[in-house]
């Protein structure tokens, strides 16, 4: 097997390696007559990237026999590409025979130097395959890398997970859409309930997909997905370097991962000589469902007026901040405050449960296990067994019933609330007046509690 490349293809190749190295440690290489595949997966098996390069991508593409496959350490490949790309005339990768123990990387530099690297390779790699049909994801959006980078810049740079909440834009009447602005998508920093989040900045960003996205597809009830930011940024840099848009496919929280791919100028992308996909596992528990699930507990442990006071105070604060910073109309603020209230509810019950000692510890452990287990991409072949999770199957099943029930209630509540507020203007006015009266009175007790 021998391949060689130069010029712009070499630059793209270097970007591929850089992105892969930010995902995993080992590079699996498969060379077929029709294409060359690079695979990598991170150590926690929550991120998987595959890059396909067609023979036309290369200056020379020679494969003896049917196929060749091996794996090498990505840090060794990065050592090869430490030489500035602008100094490299062309790169040749050679595997003398299928059983060779070292993969040759030859750099011919413009200044006359030739550098030949022999990288130890594993000729029998355990290559993970993950095939997801991106057409089967019900929701997706296309965004330019620069725009998404600009949006992410609003979040704390050390943020580890982020939540995307998608709602149906077509449900808005045309007039209402114009008035409200059609902010159908929310980006929210994820707060791990098992960690101390006091020092973390919590950020929520509402987005009008018509303004920020090149394409947006979502129908039905609101959904959310929570996934890692680190890999997202790696892929974002890759797309920006290749001057292509980013296409993100998602379904819902739970055992369904998200899939990212570059969006080439042409619809089918058949004219491109390379393609890439990044699959990220999502958090098991929905941020929407978790908020609703905690509601019964809150009702059971607190008096009704007290709960209303806390919620009202929080909403009052939210309204003030929103109106001052973004001048959002009150109708919109009320709509999105529902989601904020859900998030708020998910925090206070946890704080209360911490006082229970042993119970809260067990709950924390369970959450951590769930988090760890759900961060593995489902459907991945050769996934090792996870005994600790298996031993907790009964508990998990019992716990899983409540979210399912709450899911339906929460969905219905949100849908009904959205329709009633968006359709009937008179009711909005009346509700607003009532809420104003409620907000003024309980403000002092809320701050005293803090």
């Amino acid at each position: 097997m021998e391949i060689s490349l130069s010029d712009n293809a070499l630059k793209t190749f270097a970007r591929c390696i850089t992105c892969l190295a930010r995902i995993g440690n080992e590079l699996a290489i498969q060379v077929y007559s029709s294409q060359l595949l690079f695979h990598t997966i991170n150590s926690s098996r929550s991120a998987y990237q595959c890059i396909a390069l067609k023979p036309g991508f290369f200056d020379a593409y020679n494969v003896s026999g049917n196929s060749v496959q091996c794996s090498v350490l990505l840090k060794a490949v990065c050592a090869v590409l430490r030489t500035p790309i602008t100094n490299i005339d062309h790169l040749t990768v050679r595997l003398p025979d299928p059983d060779a123990s070292k993969l040759q990387w030859i750099l011919d530099c413009y200044n006359g130097m030739r550098k030949t690297y022999w990288i130890t390779c594993n000729v029998e790699p355990d290559i993970q395959h993950l095939s997801l049909d991106r057409q089967k994801f019900p929701s997706n959006f296309v965004v330019s890398p620069r725009d998404l980078s600009r949006l992410l810049a609003n979040f704390q740079s050390s943020l580890q997970e982020i939540t995307i909440i998608a709602t149906e834009p077509s449900s808005l009447p045309l007039d209402a859409s114009n008035e409200i602005g059609g902010k159908a998508v929310e980006l929210r920093s994820y707060m791990d309930p098992t960690k101390d989040n006091d020092t973390l900045l919590h950020t929520q960003l509402w987005i009008d997909p018509k303004e920020e996205f090149l394409q947006y597809v979502h129908t039905g009830d609101p959904i959310d997905v929570t996934f890692s930011v680190k890999e997202l940024k790696a892929f974002l840099s890759f797309c920006e370097g290749c001057e292509v848009d980013l296409h993100l496919h998602f379904e819902k929280a739970g055992d369904r991962p998200i899939l990212m791919a570059p969006k080439f100028g042409l619809e089918d992308g058949s004219h491109s000589n390379f393609d890439a996909t990044l699959v990220l596992a999502t958090m098991l528990i929905s941020q929407l469902h978790e908020g609703a699930a905690s509601e019964p507990l809150a009702g059971a442990t607190r008096t009704h007026p007290h709960t209303e006071e806390r919620n009202a105070s929080y909403m009052q604060q939210e309204n003030c901040r929103a109106n001052v910073s973004s001048e959002l109309p009150s109708d919109h603020t009320r709509i999105w405050s529902d989601l904020s209230v859900s998030a708020f509810k998910s925090i206070s019950p946890l704080e209360e449960r911490r006082a229970q000692g042993e119970t809260i510890l067990n709950d924390d452990r369970q959450r951590e296990m769930q988090r760890i287990s759900t961060m593995q991409i489902s459907g991945l072949t050769s996934v090792p067994g996870n005994n600790p999770i298996d031993s907790n199957v009964p508990t998990e099943k019992d716990h899983g019933q409540e979210p399912q029930d709450a899911m339906q209630d929460n969905g219905q509540a949100i849908s009904q609330h959205h329709r009633s507020n968006w359709v009937d203007a008179e009711e909005d006015d009346e509700d607003e007046q009532d809420e104003d009266d409620q907000y003024i009175q309980p403000t002092p007790p809320y701050y005293e509690e803090h």
């Binding site: 030489t83 200044n111 006359g112 030739r114 550098k115 030949t116 690297y117 130890t120």
Partner: protein
């Protein structure tokens, strides 16, 4: 009243930065002891490590605006901390952009056998520094570089390329084997560790890379990576910018000599010794030599 003895050497230098660059080139670790040897021809600074690596900086008397040598008997030799010496010289450097020239006087010995540095042409203030010296340890052996045979084994390569090659060769994590081949004329640097890397300089590929090449028979020797890296790790940026060449020679027993040239004078400064504007006489160049002993062959 007894008359004061004249110091062994009083010299004055106009461009301190050039001297700092030259001395920094042989500074491969933070704490280094150096030996200064004074003679009527100039100053030689010597540093050494582990009996396997030695570096010399030759500062000819022509580099100095004034050079008064009054030592009687043998050539004065004294030890000094290289780090302290460089740091003190930096204190006399003129900030970039200023047109004021800084004249530094170096005198040895001082009243207490110290090395004295002083700015002498400042109108407002004067900077003085005293550096403690010590009696140098007797060097166990001197590096007598002898040709490998009747014909020299030598090549000159761009300093930037040499530096890049040695930096890349850190990845395998082992000693470096240098091989000179007469046919086709080429130089190879190879390291084998958890990965292998070979870097080839082909004489006929690019005449601007391998500037000169002399080899009548194959020669191959191994050197510890850290010693080879020391020969280029602190090469002044001026050497890279001026696109100079470094000369490497293999002597008897595989002794490697690496020679760099570092400019001391400012190119734009007009000087009485310059024949014409822009021309830089060889006397304005500091010569730096590294000597590296080969690794013992296991064969």
């Amino acid at each position: 009243m007894e008359e004061e003895e004249a110091p062994d050497v009083i010299c004055e230098l106009e461009n301190v930065q050039g001297l700092v660059d030259a001395l920094t080139a042989v500074r491969w670790k933070r704490q280094q002891d150096a030996v200064l040897e004074l003679s009527e021809h100039g100053i030689v600074l010597i540093v050494e490590e582990s009996g396997c690596l030695q570096a010399k900086v030759y500062l000819k008397r022509e580099l100095f605006i004034r050079y008064d040598y009054n030592a009687r008997g043998g050539r004065p030799r004294f030890g000094v901390s290289l780090g302290h010496f460089v740091d003190c010289l930096n204190a006399f450097s003129v900030p970039a952009g200023q047109s004021i020239s800084s004249l530094v006087q170096i005198q040895y010995p001082g009243p207490d056998m110290q090395l004295l540095l002083k700015s002498v042409d400042s109108l407002d203030a004067s900077i003085c520094a005293e550096i403690r010296t010590r009696i140098p340890d007797t060097i166990a052996w001197d590096y007598n570089f002898e040709p490998a045979g009747a014909n020299p084994l030598t090549f000159t390569v761009k300093s930037a390329a040499l530096k890049e090659a040695i930096e890349d060769l850190e990845w395998p994590g082992s000693s470096i084997k240098i091989t000179l081949e007469p046919d086709p004329p080429s130089v190879s640097l190879r390291a084998e560790g958890h990965g292998d890397l070979q870097i080839d300089f082909m004489y006929y590929v690019n005449s601007e890379l391998l500037v000169a090449f002399q080899c009548d028979h194959q020669a191959s020797f191994k050197y510890k990576y850290k010693f080879l890296r020391a020969t280029t790790s602190n090469m002044p940026s001026s050497v890279i910018k001026e696109n100079r060449g470094s000369k490497l020679s293999i002597g008897r027993g595989g002794m490697l000599k690496v020679q760099h040239l570092v400019s001391i004078a400012k190119p734009s400064v007009s000087h009485p010794y310059a024949d014409s504007v822009g021309y830089q006489q060889p006397s304005r160049i500091a010569h730096i030599e590294f000597f590296v002993k080969p690794e013992e062959s296991e064969d």
